[in-house]
Each structure stands twice: as structure tokens, then as C-alpha cells.
């Protein structure tokens, strides 16, 4: 093992908490994962699962006076959590870049797109404005913006949604990062434009060899894009593994829930969807034991007391799950779901969530 080079990014037991007036928000709660060079890790979860906070923390964007961050984020061996702000700044936008959900609000409305890209180049590289501008034209062309020489002087509101996200990607790639963190990059876009952007990201990854962390709520997007997938729930990773393994034999009831509750073109439309009952938990007052147990159709009384940790699935060291059910029970439950049987506890299909929050 010692001969293998270390992964590009290695996150160990990352915790991010925010002190608020209502109590401490445990946004990220002991998350560990790795990203290899040139690979894509998909992180799937709902709002409040901690997926975006965790990703922002890589770049130190969640640093704030009310935030407490612990654990390690090793990027090529350097710990980004412990790194002082002035050093971390040099990593941001040069070695690690980020793109966001809403490209319109993510670009400054008062500055021309070209200006914002030139700024991204010149903050890390000692080049003249003219040289940076030339590079920007090249970048805009690379991401498929037609007529980049003219578009460079557009304001963000003059571009379409897809073009804006292309411009954001161009900005992220300006300094040839080794890692691109993409936080719901296509959620705000129309489906045909989403396909364009995902295709663009795939092509750029092939050409530039960067690694991608792709954060999304859409299992379809990660199925098409990711080499590995981590499923997050209530601040933790509940299941992680290679994409094929995870879709062939998903292990966690929450993953099953996501797969079976979302209409898919692969589903037979005659099948009822099997919803996940209840709603995502509060991150201030989290359920005891397994955080998913109040919504889990297979939960046992003991699951409210024991907190599961990630453990490898038998024979598949790369596929790990945090579930208290034993492996045989899991296999049987998934087989039943695949056969179209709804789990007993969620038979009352339209059961509403618990009382008002």
C-alpha cells in the first residue's frame, strides 16, 4: 500500500458546527472521504444534509466567527483546516476551484464577465491585463461560449442561464485547478442546458485531468457523471462506494428511499412511488442513535440508541455503509423493494410528516 501515491484530497472526520440563537447546528458531523486525481466523486443528499457546507469548507468558505471546524482536509498532504487564511487564499481559485448552483447570483451584477475572469487570473498570476484578457477569450471559447471576443464585455444579466454557468466554469478553470468543486451546478438550469453543462464538465475533465466533487440532490446526475458516490444524511455519510456497486446493490435504507421515491424514466409508471415518510431532521436537535431511524421502515427499537458508523460491505472494501441492519436483512429488504413490494411501515402511503416544526 505504501507505494500507492496519496489521494489528491483526503478528508478525515470533518466536523462543522455553527452557533446560532436556536442552538448549535451540526451541519457536518464526522465526514471522511477521498478523491483521487482525475476522478469524480458525487455527493448526494437533500437540503440540510451537509453536502454544501462540507464542500464549502474545503475552500474555507464556511470560516466565520460562529463556526467551529475540526478534522482534517488533506489536499496533496497539506491540511486546509489548519492552514492560515492568507495561505488558503492562494489555494482558492488556483489549485481548487468552485462553481455554484445559481450562476446569475454568483456573478457580480455590476462587473462585466470578462472583468471578473481577468480578476480571477490576475489574483494568482503576475500577468498583464492584456495577456489575462487574451486568456479569458481563450477560456470562454473553451467552455463553448460562441463569439467570446464580443461576449467578454457582456454583463452577467445579458447572458442566458447556460452561458452564465459556462462563464462560471471558465472562471473556475482559469488557473487550471487540480480539483473542481461543483455545488449543484445544474439545478437552476433547464434540462437540455443541464445536459450541455454536464457534457462540458465531462469533456473538460478528460482534457484537463482535474478531479471533480459533484454535489447534487439528483441521483440521475451522479449516475451519469461520478466514479464514486457518497450519500449524505443529516451531516453524515450514510453510504459510500463505487457508482456501479452503489446502484447495483445499494445498502442503506435512505439510499433505497431516494432510488424508489423519485420518478425515473427507468421506473414503470404503473408502480407507486415509495415515499420516504417524515422529513429531514433538524440539525440542532438530531434524532438519537441512527439519525435516519425515525424515517426508516426497517428500524428496530435498538436503532434509536446505537449510532452506526461506516463499515465495509462484505467482500467490497470500497463500498461502505452506516446501517445497523445486518447484511442479510439488507439484501432481503432491497430484493423485496426491487420486486415492487412496499416496506410495511410506509404502507400508509400518504402519511404526512410529523407535526409542525
Amino acid at each position: 500500500m505504501s507505494s500507492q501515491p496519496p489521494p489528491l484530497l483526503e478528508i478525515e472526520d470533518l466536523r462543522v458546527e455553527f452557533a446560532t440563537d436556536d442552538g448549535i447546528v451540526h451541519a457536518v458531523d464526522g465526514v471522511s472521504y477521498q478523491v483521487e486525481r482525475g476522478q469524480t466523486l458525487g455527493i448526494v443528499g437533500e437540503s440540510g444534509s451537509g453536502k454544501s457546507v462540507g464542500a464549502g469548507t474545503i475552500l474555507g468558505l464556511t470560516r466565520a466567527s460562529n463556526a467551529s471546524i475540526s478534522g482534517r482536509i488533506l489536499f496533496e498532504g497539506r491540511d486546509l483546516v489548519a492552514m492560515p487564511a492568507h495561505e488558503l487564499r492562494r489555494v482558492r481559485g488556483s489549485e481548487i476551484s468552485m462553481i455554484f448552483q445559481d450562476p446569475l447570483s454568483s456573478l457580480h451584477p455590476f462587473y462585466r464577465v470578462g472583468h471578473q475572469l481577468v480578476e480571477a487570473i490576475r489574483v494568482h498570476r503576475d500577468v498583464t491585463k492584456a495577456a489575462a484578457r487574451e486568456r479569458v477569450v481563450e477560456l470562454l471559447g473553451l467552455v463553448g461560449i460562441p463569439d467570446p471576443k464580443r461576449r467578454i464585455d457582456d454583463y452577467p444579466h445579458e447572458l442566458s442561464g447556460g452561458m452564465r454557468q459556462r462563464a462560471m466554469i471558465a472562471m473556475a478553470l482559469a488557473n487550471e485547478p487540480k480539483l473542481l468543486v461543483a455545488d449543484e451546478p445544474t439545478t437552476a438550469l433547464d434540462v437540455t442546458v443541464q445536459a450541455q453543462i454536464l457534457g462540458l464538465m465531462e469533456r473538460l475533465q478528460r482534457e484537463l485531468g482535474m478531479a471533480i466533487i459533484l454535489i447534487t440532490h439528483d441521483l440521475g446526475v451522479v449516475a451519469e457523471m461520478a466514479d464514486d458516490i457518497a450519500v449524505m444524511y443529516a451531516g453524515r455519510i450514510v453510504e459510500v462506494g463505487p457508482t456501479l456497486a452503489l446502484f447495483d446493490a445499494p445498502q442503506h435504507p435512505y439510499t433505497w428511499g431516494l432510488l424508489k421515491s423519485i420518478p425515473s424514466l427507468e421506473h414503470d409508471p404503473g408502480d407507486e412511488l415509495i415515499p420516504i415518510p417524515g422529513r429531514p431532521p433538524s440539525l440542532i436537535h438530531r434524532p438519537t442513535g441512527c439519525h435516519f431511524h425515525p424515517r426508516c421502515a426497517y428500524a428496530q427499537p435498538a436503532h434509536a440508541r446505537t449510532d452506526p458508523s461506516l463499515a465495509p460491505v462484505a467482500g467490497q472494501p470500497a463500498h461502505r455503509v452506516a446501517c445497523l441492519l445486518d447484511e442479510r436483512a439488507r439484501r432481503a429488504a432491497w430484493a423485496a423493494l426491487e420486486a415492487g413490494e412496499a416496506p410495511a411501515a410506509s404502507a400508509a402511503l400518504s402519511t404526512a410528516e410529523d407535526g409542525p416544526g
Partner: protein
């Protein structure tokens, strides 16, 4: 862009005519103020009053009177004559304008120089001791009455009555053209008095606006690019956070040019506010009417200026 500005200007013209109509209505048509009677004095006969009324054109139909008034105002800026001094209102106002402009300009410079840095520091170091201290002082600044602050300053620092006679006191205004140094020293105290509450308002306003701006997605993008935090705040945050201030400042400038009545009165600065005060004391209606009209014009002009500046600041305004 050009179309936008032209539209603004035309609207301003319409507004000006409306304002002129309103002042005309208030001062010419209200029964409390029969100009002929006022002008005739106490011992006038009915014949005197009728003569005056005829001379002033007050016996003509209202719309003719308004038309004459409008023509006079628009073509010659003729606002009539003062009852007290028999000077034209126009010349009185023009005489007083430099003092008001001096007072306003200095105060604006001071409050911007104080308000903006304090607002920025408070927003960036939110909830720090510095922020709390600054906001407390600002709260006091907003609350303290101008005349009280003016009197306290005079009592402390005025050369004639002050405990620490450092600065010229009231009634020492000298035009800039005759003696720049005396002009400056005489205005220091009025400037500060006039600037105090506005500096506080601007600091608080900017603090709130900047705190809000710093939550924007594009600020996150700026940080993710690796910009220096200073650049993030000054170039990305402040640029957006200042735009609401432009609106307020435009109005404030307009209002100030209409005369800072209290400050001018306390320090006896011979500006439009002081003129207005004297006119009110003596029921000198043409002057009051003139100053009101001038104040309204300044506010309208300031508003246009704001709209135009806005279009330069925010490209999205230009677009629509």
C-alpha cells in the same frame, strides 16, 4: 441609456410644473394670505387694497394669474418682491445661496468621510467592541437635536462665549471669495453640527447594506477566486452596498441646498434657511414661497441626478 435619461428629465419637467402649481395654490389661493391686504399694510383703505390688487394682477382670473406666475418663474425666475425689504426674492435667494452651498458641501464631505469608513468597519467587524461603540455613538448622533448640539459646541469652543475658545462663534460667516481661511474656520462648527446626524445615519445604513451584501452569492464567488478579503469587501461588497446610499444622499443634498434652517439659525449663517426663518417670523410670503420653490427644485434635480448616477452604477438599470 440616452433614452432613459431623456425620460427622467422630461418627468422632472412635469414634476416641476406641478410643484410650481402647488406653491401657487398654497400661497395665492389660500384665504389666510390675501397678498394685497398684507402688502397694503395696516392703515390701508379699501381703495388702496383694490389698487394693489389690480397692480399685482390679483383681480384677473386664477388661470391667468397662474399663467403669469408660471411665465415669470420659468422665463425670468421672477419670484416677486419681498414685503419687508422691497428687494426681489430672486436676488435675496441668490445672495444667500453661496452660504448655504458652502455649508452643505462641507457637511456632506465630513459625513461621507466619517460615515463610510465607520459603516464599513462596523459591518466587517460585526458584533465587535468597535462595532458596538460606533453604533452607540451613531445612535446618539441620530438622536441629538441639531440646535442643542450647536449650542453646546458654541458654549464649548466659540471664540466669544466658549470655555475653550478655539473657533469663531456664531455670526462670523465670511464668503469664500473674500477670505478663504476665515470662511473655513467659521464653518467648521456648523459643518460638524450639520454632519453629525447624517454621518450616523449613513454609517448605520451602510453597515446594514454591507452586511447584507456580504451574504450574496457573488461575494462567495469572489472569495472562492482567492481574492484578498480587503478586495472582496472594497471592490465587490462596497460597490453594491453603496448604491442604496446614493439614493439617500441625492435627497439629502437636495434638502440641504434648500437651506439648513436650524443650523443656519443657531450659527447665524446667512443662508437660505436663515432667510426662510426670517421670512417666517415676518410673514414675508413671497420669500417663503420662493424658498419653498427653490428647495423643491433642488430636490427634483437631486432626484434626477440620483437616477442618472444609478444607471451608471448598476448596468441592469441601463438595460431595462
Amino acid at each position: 441609456m440616452g433614452r432613459y435619461i431623456i425620460r427622467r428629465l422630461l418627468w422632472a419637467l412635469v414634476l416641476l410644473v406641478l410643484v410650481i402649481a402647488l406653491t401657487f395654490a398654497i400661497f395665492y389661493l389660500l384665504p389666510s394670505a390675501d397678498p394685497a391686504q398684507l402688502r397694503a399694510g395696516r392703515n390701508a383703505t379699501a381703495q388702496n387694497i383694490a389698487d394693489i390688487r389690480h397692480n399685482l394682477g390679483l383681480d384677473k382670473p386664477v388661470y391667468v394669474q397662474f399663467w403669469d406666475y408660471l411665465k415669470a418663474v420659468v422665463l425670468h425666475f421672477d419670484l416677486g418682491y419681498s414685503y419687508q425689504s422691497d428687494a426681489s426674492v430672486k436676488s435675496l435667494i441668490l445672495d444667500r445661496l453661496p452660504a448655504t452651498v458652502s455649508l452643505a458641501a462641507g457637511a456632506i464631505v465630513i459625513w461621507m468621510l466619517v460615515g463610510i469608513p465607520v459603516g464599513v468597519i462596523s459591518a466587517v467587524r460585526r458584533r465587535s467592541l468597535l462595532d458596538r461603540a460606533a453604533m452607540t455613538v451613531a445612535l446618539i448622533g441620530v438622536s441629538v437635536p441639531v440646535f442643542w448640539l450647536g449650542l453646546v459646541l458654541l458654549y464649548l469652543f466659540a471664540a466669544d462665549i466658549g470655555k475653550f475658545p478655539l473657533l469663531p462663534g456664531a455670526n462670523t460667516y465670511v464668503p469664500l471669495t473674500s477670505d478663504p481661511v476665515k470662511w473655513l474656520t467659521s464653518l467648521i462648527m456648523p459643518w460638524f453640527v450639520l454632519a453629525a446626524s447624517s454621518a450616523a445615519v449613513y454609517a448605520r445604513l451602510l453597515r446594514g447594506s454591507l452586511i447584507e451584501t456580504m451574504q450574496e452569492d457573488y461575494i462567495r464567488t469572489a472569495r472562492a477566486k482567492g481574492l484578498l478579503e480587503r478586495t472582496v469587501v472594497m471592490r465587490h461588497g462596497l460597490r453594491s452596498a453603496l448604491t442604496p446610499l446614493v439614493t439617500v444622499m441625492g435627497l439629502d443634498i437636495g434638502v440641504l441646498l434648500g437651506g439648513a434652517l436650524l443650523t443656519e439659525t443657531v450659527f447665524n449663517v446667512p443662508g437660505i434657511g436663515r432667510l426662510n426663518y426670517e421670512a417666517i417670523v415676518h410673514s414675508d410670503y413671497p420669500i417663503i414661497q420662493g424658498t419653498v420653490l427653490v428647495a423643491a427644485i433642488f430636490i427634483i434635480l437631486a432626484n434626477i441626478a440620483v437616477d442618472i448616477v444609478y444607471a451608471f452604477l448598476d448596468p441592469r438599470v441601463r438595460y431595462s
